[in-house]
Amino acid sequence: MVDKILVWVDERLGLTGIYNTVFDRKIPKTNWWFTLGSASLFLFVLQGLTGMFLAVYYVPSPDHAYNSVQYIMDGVAFGWLIRGIHHWGASAMVVVVFIHMLRTFYYAAYKYPREITWLTGVLLLLATLGMGFTGYLLPWNQRAYWATTVGTEIAATAPFIGDFILRVLRGGYDLSAVTLARFFAVHIWFLPAIMAALIGVHLYLVIRVGISAIPKEDE
């Protein structure tokens, strides 16, 4: 019965075809370093899911941001767990994505015909760092406030346009409610949307042009 339903669905959706293309494709001999891309994707999904749950209670306003985070920690069942996973998952993601880039670099896997895979990967690394930077402000505690003060001041040291960048980042001269709101918007809408699109291209290319083998000694 179940088999019949599966066959019926598969006949219409072509799931077997997708499965074979995505999971049963031919790959060269690999090692454990080749799992970091999947690990990055897993962490992206994990951050997305825990982030959705945090957004149920979090309020991006200076009046309520800190208290709403305290409420998640003390007032909501398993709030500490969801926030803890999001907090540590963020650090883990930066580390994993970075090591994923190192593997690609040391195995010279960025060369023809995989340049665009590499380029989208670079953008994904930058977006991941952007997620870390914008997410760090959201708890609206002393560390968040001063880290963002310092981070935006560093951006302001850019020659000529530094001052302008600072005002764009903060939404004015001061680190204010406007800053918190725009960091929140970038953190939950702009960057995730950009990353989802880039991951789509990245994965499409991994399937289309494949992954490179581990370089041999004489290469």
Binding site: F53, V56, Y57, V59, H64, N67, S68, Q70, Y71, G75, V76, A77, F78, G79, L81, I82
Partner: protein, 149 residues
Amino acid sequence: MKVVLAFLGTVMGAVVGLPAISYLISPAARVQKKEAWIPLGPLENYPVEVPTPFSFTRTTVNGWEKTVNSHGAYVVRKGGNELKVYSNMCTHLSCRVTWKDDLHEYICPCHDGHFDAEGRVALGPPPQPLYEYETKIEAGNLFIHFVEG
């Protein structure tokens, strides 16, 4: 093999799913019962046989902030220490009723519910009469027993 997989799948689903569901329904699971005696001031402030409105607020902590809710009541003195206090909350869908002197009825503006002077349903969709507060009089002051939740 299939049994082991099904068992492990159930365990993993529960480990992930139960905290997630608890997290979402957590505020709903916390029902605070609120009750207090609300002072309405000296009894002689309320005229006899004229439904007189009285309003008060109750403050609750919801999540990360305080919520202030307004409540209203109509005090109807029958003379002496005899009186009735009706909630102004319509029993249909919780809109607020107003006493109309010309009609001699409480009217709910939302779905045209009518209650007579004794709080009984006179017309419209309300399923029950207006809620009547328990009252007490201490040293000439009127109190109503407010219960919620």
